[in-house]
Symmetry: C2
Subunit: 248 residues, 2 copies
């Protein structure tokens, strides 16, 4: 085959057979239950073919005029009501054969899944439908075999969650406007495990960075000294944006 500057075009469109796609969105929705120190993921039992009666990640097909992120958010909003959340695109799975509806020999329609991961707090994530045999929070460590390649997507999302929490201020999207340093610490503990740092070191490191401001307001939760409510100062955080920053 000979190449010259005349052949530098997008090498398709006419001669070869292009794949046909349906595009869907699948969500890894994590919730942090700091009270019982559990990291949960929302699963839905499929009631249709293929993989009928298998647990799966909540997903949807993308509608006309709808952005990918909007589709992801819609899927989430149909399942839970929540005030504070973090949502970001994860990865796109689109290899041939990932959905049995595409017969490999027939080169039928391919099902492409753009996955998103979301993080919410369990305490404020209210399930719209009652928890049932068809929709449930599973502990990440205890998820069963899922439909399609959803175990792989979940694994991918879990890794991303831990990295994001360590290197980005996503915790402040998930917590309410005002929170105690212990709220923050518990969130980190639940996701990263207890041994990631001790509380006092966690405190001093974070406060030294200077983007958490003490509102002066105190809250008392049962026994013990009342805690200060802090809030995340976006302006003070600016200099850290885009810089590798460790939050441990």
């Amino acid at each position: 085959m000979k190449f010259n500057s005349e052949t530098e075009t997008e090498s398709d469109t006419q001669t070869v057979n292009l794949a046909n796609f349906k595009v869907g969105v699948d969500n890894v929705i994590f919730s942090v239950d700091t009270q019982y120190n559990r990291l949960l993921v929302l699963l839905r039992k499929r009631k249709e073919q293929p993989h009928e009666n298998r647990w799966s990640l909540p997903g949807t097909l993308v509608r006309q005029g709808e952005s990918l992120q909007e589709a992801a958010y819609r899927t989430l909003a149909e399942k839970i009501r929540v005030n504070n959340l973090y949502l970001e695109q994860l990865y796109t799975f689109g290899d041939p054969g990932r959905d049995p509806r595409e017969a490999p020999e027939s080169f039928g329609v391919r099902y492409l899944s753009v996955s998103y991961f979301a993080l919410v707090r369990y305490e404020e994530a209210e399930l719209i439908a009652k928890p049932s045999v068809n929709l449930a929070w599973y502990q990440v460590k205890e998820v069963p075999q899922l439909a399609f390649d959803h175990n792989q997507i979940l694994e991918y999302g879990y890794r991303r969650l831990r990295n994001k929490l360590e290197y980005s201020p996503i915790a402040f999207d998930v917590l309410p406007e005002r929170f105690t340093l212990n709220d923050l610490y518990q969130l980190y503990c639940t996701v990263l495990g207890e041994n990631f740092s001790d509380y006092s070191n966690f405190r001093s490191r974070l406060l030294k960075l200077g983007f958490l401001s003490d509102t002066g307001v105190k809250v008392s939760r049962g026994a013990g000294r009342p805690a200060s409510l802090y809030c995340f100062d976006k302006v003070a955080f600016m200099p850290f944006k885009d810089k590798p920053l460790v939050f441990i």
Copy 2:
């Protein structure tokens, strides 16, 4: 609207209008020219509508039976010949209106772009077609306005490249089997800038990690003491896999 456990299905398929998609792959192909300390990106001038005569990222539509990564690799292999490269999926852009061929009011076919980024060394990346007015390496700092949202994709890829280089062993996919520590250092310098670390600290930090083994073979390049050739020891690297690791 009332939800109960009977409505917990994928909320689409029948009633609402789903978007129709064409799925393409766009590549941010970086090359590191350590000799002149330049970071380059491969651009292609479009010779078709829309955005005729605009520079763009090399891309293609996905073929039947072809995985996304295969499509990305095919696009790359049509432009350059290379022995060592790093290739990974970047992000998926699929918002309505990103391609003018989709008339926003008509809800026509949507063009979804799964972007990939690649890293190669300029020294070994041989352009298959001669550099021409239609295909060229641009310095990342000097890229013109590109077609579609390709400037945004490039920006995204550039950020990912710097992060990956700092935290992952991608340099060893790009370098040949055996390389000098200076080769490695130059690569880092070109991507991250000269000030990221001084050479002697870079050396000792990397060698202390223990996954670079000295082959004993020396190479002499002009004047000066000959350098040892090292190779990346995959087995010795195993314990660091999946752990946050800084390579600076």
